[in-house]
């Protein structure tokens, strides 16, 4: 019977104080009756193994005790779907990109590895861990409080079918978005040409900036990009639904855009800097630092570019093929 007593003690631990003794007395009576019945069947006292089998069938102590407790939850079923969306967005659009970027920097940046050698490399993840802990904890806390406040009724229970969002068509291209895209592309092209950006030397606020000899390639590349943007926006204005063709065009333009931005960041485009307030050695150091900073930041460009291109590929896969 020692096994039974140990089992009952384990169940008792999880029960509410006011009902502990009552529940345990009843459960004990049931288990003893089961054991007696079994002993009459087999005609002998039960071994520990037999009792163990009865207790195992009865279930783990915590689960047995749990059935006596009212169903409770931290975030109820009404708010849980929103909570899930928020947590998923947090993980996929913030924490995971951060981790991937950190991995990328750790692998590809010798400067970063030199600054954080050995175990210090993993210690440099500390802000990420803190962000994980705080963001998940705070979100859970906010939702748990919302669930217990009157706001939940306002947010979830007071609803009207008429206030539901319109049916979403993922293949529809927003006209407003296309107009904005077209305006930006035209404005960039106009500004680019008006600024005479083809030249390599710029003067502003007493500072003279000289760009590398590769700059003109970038000038023409951006002109081409603006023209492609204008073409795509014009096409989308006339055909405001994604097709495999237009979605592939969008992917092409985005590959070109992000490739160009990556190249800009990595190309050491700044050649020299002249300013009356800077000595020549300071100017050389400033140019070097700026180029290194841009080169190191290229990984951000890769991270953002990969996300954008993943959306583009998803769009192509989503669009039904033209019959």
């Amino acid at each position: 019977m020692q096994l039974v007593d140990r089992y009952l003690q384990a169940v008792k631990f999880w029960l509410p104080r006011s009902e502990k003794n009552d529940i345990i007395a009843e459960l004990a009576e049931d288990l003893r009756s089961q054991i007696e019945d079994r002993e009459s069947e087999v005609g002998r006292k039960l071994s520990d193994a037999d009792v163990e089998a009865i207790l195992k069938r009865c279930g783990p102590p915590m689960a047995v005790a749990g059935r006596y407790l009212p169903q409770r939850y931290l975030i109820g079923p009404a708010l849980f779907p929103i909570y899930r969306v928020v947590i998923r967005s947090l993980v996929f659009y913030f924490l995971l990109p951060w981790l991937l970027l950190w991995t990328g920097i750790s692998i590809f940046s010798p400067d970063f590895r030199a600054d954080h050698p050995g175990a210090a490399l993993f210690a440099s993840l500390e802000p990420w861990w803190l962000a994980c802990t705080y963001s998940l904890f705070l979100n859970t806390l906010v939702f748990a409080l919302l669930d217990r406040s009157g706001l939940r009724a306002h947010m979830v229970d007071d609803w009207n079918p008429r206030s539901l969002p319109a049916i979403r068509d993922p293949n529809h291209i927003s006209r407003a978005g296309t107009v904005i895209e077209l305006t930006v592309a035209v404005a960039t092209l106009t500004l680019w040409v008006q600024l005479d950006a083809y030249r390599r030397m710029f003067h502003a606020l007493g500072v003279t900036i000289t760009l590398s000899s590769r700059w003109p390639y970038f000038f023409w590349a951006l002109v081409l990009l603006s023209l492609a943007g204008i073409g795509l926006a014009g096409f989308n204005l006339l055909n405001p639904r994604w097709t495999r063709f237009s979605a592939s065009l969008r992917l092409g333009v985005d590959v070109y855009t992000w490739g160009l931005v990556f190249w800009i960041f990595r190309a050491n485009l700044l050649q020299s800097l002249n300013a009356s307030s800077l000595s020549s050695s300071e100017a050389i150091e400033a140019v070097r630092s700026l180029n290194i900073w841009l080169a190191n930041s290229a990984l951000w460009v890769v991270a953002i570019g990969v996300v954008v291109l993943a959306f583009d590929v998803r769009r192509i896969l989503r669009v039904p093929p033209t019959k």
Binding site: L27, E29, S33, G59, A63, V64, Y68
Partner: protein, 115 residues
């Protein structure tokens, strides 16, 4: 996990779900006669409604809290046992539930007629 195991598990889950809904009715009906937990379990099991102790006792407490059962600790065979029986409210609810059950049963029979 093999396909047959998955199918068995699916069937078992649905079977339990189906039986779970009818347990309160079976318990209320059985408690027209006074029982303590263990004999109630045996009575139900003998009639094909086996119910484990982890399900029965919390259910009995819930039904008692709702005023559908009354209970009393009493000594029998030199052991203290808690005896349950239907309360007057329980009797009236049982009647209503039985009507509902018969209506569900009739509807299901109609739905099943060509299976």
């Amino acid at each position: 996990m093999s396909q047959s195991t998955q199918a068995d598990e699916r069937f078992e889950n649905l079977r339990q779900e189906l039986r779970r809904g009818s347990l309160p009715l079976a318990v209320l009906a059985a408690l027209r006669t006074e029982h303590y937990g263990y004999t109630l379990r045996k009575t139900l099991a003998d009639q094909g409604m086996a119910i484990d102790e982890g399900t029965l006792y919390p259910l009995l407490r819930r039904l008692e809290t709702q005023g559908l059962l009354v209970s009393q600790w009493r000594e029998e065979d030199k052991r203290n046992k808690r005896f349950y029986r239907l309360s007057p409210d329980g009797k009236s609810i049982l009647k209503q539930l039985l009507t509902e059950w018969k209506s569900i049963h009739a509807s299901l029979e109609d739905i099943f007629h060509d299976i």
